[in-house]
Structure formats: structure tokens, C-alpha cells
């Protein structure tokens, strides 16, 4: 007899989907004493479960071997997810989800896991295909997490004050676009960006100056650590007193937060050029500035970008937190602190989502520039052959 290697994830998915058809879909309504919904009444959901059983059984035997197989699994999951959400909101399962429902979600989970695993291990010499696979993995994973959040919160009927489902946050996000745009402009564009540019820019220039003074070079690191340990909560009110309520005080907080990471990294980077390369420049009788621009600054770039990336997250956090200590009536931090007080938790979450999006985009932009500017660096060469 030949030993057949079974695909365990698909097996789990098939069994879970089969059990989902048997166990009750929803719990009992306290008032009427009847079950809220049956699988038999929801044809779409029944079809989705049956599909999961079939696909699960089939792939248990043949295995998920190609990207095409993974695509089929993802398609099944998308259809199943859609039906699950439909059951929750159109057939009243929300708040009453039973064992059958959760078994179905587990079945989908197993499929997603297996499919993402296969896509993540996909290798192609064609850049377009490889890049689409590289993008698909985090996107699929992110969408799946949102889906789980949605069904868990509404399936168990979690109170919205504790945690609203993503759909509600999304709705609030879209309907409050005007407010959010104003908040974004105030906090991100005015405060965070200007503070970031001033903090990083000045630290960069100071680093080049400090580099020429040996004792400063050695004394800086401990000082830098001390300043980074300064609690932003203590600094922010003082900056508000110095620079007023508007974005200037927030920018000042960010300058303080971002200055030393940039300074310390740049100073370190300026000494990263190898001895041999410095000797080479010396044999050409290259002057201080020539060596700085042709050798030491390029060699420092990986360090500089490291600081730019760290600071991109620090800047947004700094701007939001600083707004808790006095601000005009606009801004992301201001909105969060006031809407929490009014129990408008969905608005708070919408602002958090905005902050996450802005922060990710900012970081991504810096990382992208880094990739272009320091593509020579060993850490970026891997996928370029």
C-alpha cells in the first residue's frame, strides 16, 4: 500500500464544516424560547458549508500544491465569509451564534491558513508575479483578521462600548470624513510632519558638526539616552506653555522626541565607512567635504534611514499624545480624548484607524525611499537577482 500524505489543514476544514452542518447554528432566544435560525433556512450558508466539506475533502487527498489550488481555497473562503456575515446580520444570528457557526468559522480559518502559507512560499522569477504574491499575503491576512474581529464581536454580541465591529468603525470613518480630514490635517500635516522635518533635519546638521568634535561624539550617547527617557507627558504641557495651544507646541514635542535618535544614528553612521575606504580617499588627497559627500555620508545612509523610520512612528505618537494637553478644537488626539468622554467609541476607533493608516503610510514611504536610496546595501540585495 502506498502511503498517502494527508493535508491536515484541509482535513480539519472538511471535518469542521461537516460538523457545522450538524450542530445548531444559533442559540435560543430568551423571549421566544426558540432557536434564532437554522442552516436549512439559509440556503447560501448551507451551500458555503457544503462547499467547504467538498473542497476540504478533495484537497485533503490531492494536497494544496499550486498557487491555483490556493486561489480556489481563497475563493471558497471569500464566499463562506460573505455568507457568514449575511447570516449574522440578515438572519439575526448576531449575538446568538452557536457551535455550528463557530465550527464553520474554524473551517474557514484552516483554509485561509493553508492558502496563505502556500502563497507565502511562492517563488517566481517574474517580478510582477512575485510582487503580487508578496502583496497578497499581508493583505489576505489583514482582511482575515478584520473578518474574525467582525464575526467574533457580533457573533458573541460584545457591547459596542467595549469593542465595536470593524464594519461600524468603517461606517463612522466614512460618515465623518470631514472631521477626520480636518483632524488629519491638523495633527499629521501641520504638527507631525513639520516637527519631524525640523527634528530630523536639525539633528542631521548638528551630527555633521558634532562629528568634528571628538569629546562631543563620545559624550552624546548617554545624553541622548537621557533625553529619550524624558516622559513626553511631562514635556508636552511645558511645550504648550512655551509655544501655545496650536500645532507649534506639538511640533516642539516631536522635535525633542526625534532629535536624539537622529543625532546618535547619524554620528554612528558617519563613522561606519571602513578604514580601507578612508585610506583610499586619503591617497587621492580628497578633502574633508569631498570625503564627507563621496564616502562618509553614503556609508551613513543606512543608519540615517534607520533613524528616519524610528522617528516616523515617534512623530505621530508624539503629536497625538501632546494634543491631550491642550489644543484648539481640532486634531486626532483632541478628538480621541473628547469622544471617549462622550462614549462615542466608534469615533475613537475611527481615529485610531486613521492614525494606523497614516502611520503605516508614512513609515512605508520612508522605507520606500530607503530602498531606492540604499539599494546597494546587503540587506536589500536578496530579491533582486
Amino acid at each position: 500500500m502506498t502511503q498517502v500524505k494527508l493535508d491536515k489543514f484541509c482535513l480539519v476544514a472538511a471535518v469542521a464544516a461537516l460538523l457545522a452542518l450538524i450542530f445548531p447554528l444559533a442559540g435560543v432566544d430568551g423571549d421566544t424560547g426558540k432557536q434564532v435560525a437554522f442552516v436549512g433556512d439559509i440556503p447560501g450558508l448551507a451551500i458555503a458549508m457544503a462547499l467547504c466539506v467538498i473542497a476540504g475533502a478533495a484537497f485533503t487527498w490531492i494536497g494544496v500544491r499550486t498557487i491555483f489550488h490556493a486561489g480556489i481555497l481563497l475563493a471558497v473562503v471569500i464566499f463562506g465569509g460573505w455568507q457568514a456575515v449575511d447570516a449574522l446580520y440578515e438572519y439575526g444570528v448576531a449575538g446568538y451564534a452557536g457551535l455550528g457557526f463557530w465550527l464553520f468559522i474554524i473551517s474557514l480559518w484552516a483554509f485561509v491558513w493553508r492558502a496563505i502559507d502556500v502563497i507565502a512560499n511562492y517563488h517566481s522569477l517574474e517580478t510582477v508575479k512575485q510582487q503580487s504574491a508578496n502583496i497578497l499575503v499581508p493583505v489576505a491576512f489583514g482582511v482575515w483578521l478584520l473578518f474574525v474581529w467582525e464575526v467574533v464581536v457580533s457573533g458573541f454580541g460584545v457591547p459596542q462600548v467595549l469593542l465595536p465591529p470593524p464594519s461600524m468603525i468603517g461606517e463612522r470613518f466614512v460618515s465623518s470624513m470631514d472631521t477626520m480630514a480636518a483632524d488629519f490635517y491638523q495633527t499629521f500635516v501641520k504638527a507631525a510632519l513639520s516637527g519631524y522635518v525640523m527634528g530630523c533635519g536639525s539633528a542631521f546638521l548638528v551630527a555633521i558638526a558634532v562629528d568634528r568634535v571628538p569629546f562631543l561624539k563620545r559624550g552624546l550617547l548617554p545624553l541622548g539616552n537621557m533625553v529619550s527617557a524624558l516622559p513626553i507627558i511631562g514635556v508636552a504641557p511645558i511645550m504648550v506653555m512655551w509655544f501655545g495651544f496650536d500645532w507649534q507646541s506639538k511640533a516642539a514635542v516631536i522635535v525633542i522626541m526625534t532629535f536624539f535618535p537622529m543625532l546618535v544614528n547619524t554620528v554612528t553612521g558617519l563613522n561606519a565607512a571602513g578604514k580601507l575606504e578612508k585610506d583610499l580617499m586619503a591617497t587621492y588627497a580628497s578633502g574633508y567635504w569631498s570625503t564627507l559627500f563621496r564616502l562618509r555620508l553614503p556609508a551613513a545612509m543606512p543608519f540615517v534611514f534607520n533613524a528616519l523610520k524610528i522617528n516616523s512612528t515617534l512623530a505621530l505618537i508624539g503629536a497625538i499624545v501632546a494634543e491631550f494637553f491642550g489644543t484648539p478644537i481640532v486634531g486626532m488626539g483632541f478628538r480621541i480624548s473628547t469622544e471617549v468622554g462622550r462614549m462615542n467609541i466608534d469615533m475613537v476607533w475611527a481615529e485610531i484607524a486613521l492614525a494606523a493608516l497614516a502611520g503605516t503610510a508614512f513609515y512605508g514611504a520612508v522605507a520606500y525611499v530607503e530602498r531606492k536610496a540604499t539599494s546597494w546595501h546587503p540587506s536589500f540585495r536578496v530579491r533582486r537577482h
Binding site: 580601507l276 575606504e277 585610506d279 580617499m281 587621492y284 588627497a285 580628497s286
Partner: protein, 275 residues
């Protein structure tokens, strides 16, 4: 030219040749935590204009150190050294050196071409001139077609050739080459040896060349300096009388074998010293 040097020239030089490198009683001691390392001791050497001097000797005998002292990358702790009649520092400022290091030392963010044009950029040459010279130098080391590649896309030997092209590109009078062909296969090595000889015959450059290969040393040189370690010193200086336009065929001549033998004997003596 200083007056002293003119007098020296008249007094000491047999022909009208001028001394490019003049080293007297040169010593260099590195102070390390494990005590002093006598890298060079009492080194006396004159390299004349148009000389091709090979340095050969066991690892750690101070060949690199001597080259570095000549190039003003290391300061001697004793003795005197002058380059073209001036201090190494002044000669460096006058861009007298084309140094090929033991490792390629290419800048990873520059393409091969712009690595070769680096010294030309520092010396403020025009853009067309830079590109033209880089092209010529790369052709000489057979790297044409690789201009736009980056160092990490080239093999170790190709990188070393690029670094040779870089040293040739700016036409320094004194070429200092530290085992430039160490990483290359025999055929490429032969070819580059021939190219280097041609260049030397054509331009009257002065070359100081470190190698571990006896045939290479004998084939290329007008003067072979045999060194010995602990303390690093010169134990033999052998003049060869081959013409500048020699070919690979001379390697079969008895004269060649005789010189090779003498170098080998010198190396043996140096080695047995430290047992």
C-alpha cells in the same frame, strides 16, 4: 627640485635617473597591547624613476606596511623617507600615488564605472574626460561591458580588476600595487601581467608591486626586493636586466631561472630565521 636633491643626483646617480622613492634607515614599530611589533626595521631602498620594483617575502614581513609608509598612510617611527624629493605627505597632496589595495575597496553604492571615475571626480576632471578615461581603463582590465554593474554583482577577481582600473585611470606617476593579482586565475594573471608591462614600457611609470609569486616577480620587475619578518627588513635586492618590452617567453631562459633561484634562496633564508 631642491638644491640638495640636485647635488645628490649629481653625486650619487650613475645615470640621469632621479630617485622617486628614497628610504634611509626606515623603521616602523607598532605599539600594541601585546608589546611592540617591529613591522619595519632599518630599511634602505631607492626606487628610481621608471623602476618596476617587486616586494616579495613571507606573510607579515612588512610589505604592506612599507607601501603604506610610502603612500603616507602610516608614519615611520624612525629614519627618513622622501618621495620625488618631498615628504610623503606633500607627494600625497600632489596626487602622486595610484594605490591598489590588497582588497578591492570599491564603494558599494557606486557602479563600476563611477567607482573608476571617483579619483577623477575628486581631481575635478570634466565629465567627458572622466567617462573616456574610465572606459579606457576598464578596457585595459577587460571589464568593458560591466560599466553599469555594481560591485556586488561582480566576482572577487573582477572587483580586483576594477580597482586596478581605478588606480590606472588617473595616471599617477607612482603605482603602488599590493598583491593586485592575488585573487586571479593563472590565465587572467598572465594577461594582466602583460598589460601592466606594456603600460609600464609605454609610460615610464614607476611601479612598486607586492606579490607572493616568484615567477611573477621575476617576470615583471627591474628590481626584486626580498624581505623577511620579525623584524620586517630587506634581505636581498636583485636587479634584473631584461628589456622593458619582454614577453612571456623569457620565463624559459636560464637567466630567468637563475634569478628565480636566487629569490627562492633568499625567501628560504628569511623563513628559516624565525624557526
Amino acid at each position: 627640485m631642491t638644491l640638495k636633491q640636485v647635488v645628490d643626483n649629481v653625486a650619487e646617480m650613475p645615470a640621469s635617473k632621479k630617485a622617486v622613492v628614497d628610504v634611509k634607515d626606515l623603521s616602523l614599530t607598532f605599539q600594541t597591547t601585546d608589546g611592540p611589533v617591529y613591522a619595519l626595521s632599518e630599511v634602505n631602498l631607492t626606487i628610481e624613476e621608471g623602476d618596476f620594483v617587486s616586494f616579495i617575502g613571507p606573510s607579515g614581513c612588512g610589505k604592506t606596511t612599507l607601501l603604506r609608509v610610502i603612500a603616507d598612510l602610516e608614519k615611520a617611527t624612525g629614519g627618513e623617507i622622501s618621495i620625488n624629493g618631498v615628504s610623503p605627505e606633500d607627494a600625497r597632496q600632489a596626487r602622486a600615488y595610484g594605490y591598489v589595495f590588497q582588497a578591492p575597496a570599491l564603494l558599494p553604492w557606486r557602479s563600476i564605472e563611477s567607482n573608476v571615475t571617483l579619483p577623477l571626480e575628486i581631481m575635478d576632471l570634466s565629465k567627458e574626460e572622466r567617462i573616456k578615461r574610465a572606459h579606457d581603463a576598464l578596457k585595459l582590465v577587460e571589464l568593458n561591458g560591466f560599466e553599469k554593474k555594481f560591485p556586488w554583482q561582480l566576482s572577487g577577481g573582477m572587483q580586483q580588476r576594477a580597482s586596478i582600473a581605478r588606480a590606472l585611470s588617473f595616471d599617477a606617476d607612482l603605482l603602488l600595487m599590493d598583491e593586485p593579482f592575488g585573487a586571479l586565475d593563472e590565465i587572467v594573471r598572465d594577461h594582466l601581467n602583460e598589460q601592466l608591462l606594456k603600460l609600464w614600457a609605454r609610460t615610464n611609470k614607476t611601479v612598486a608591486f607586492v606579490t607572493h609569486s616568484i615567477p611573477e616577480a621575476v617576470y615583471l620587475s627591474s628590481k626584486i626586493v626580498v624581505m623577511s619578518p620579525r623584524p620586517g627588513r630587506i634581505i636581498d635586492v636583485i636587479e634584473t636586466k631584461f628589456p622593458k618590452d619582454r614577453t612571456l617567453d623569457i620565463r624559459e631562459t636560464p637567466e630567468f631561472l637563475e634569478i628565480a633561484h636566487r629569490v627562492r634562496e633568499g625567501l628560504r633564508a628569511g623563513h628559516s630565521n624565525d624557526e
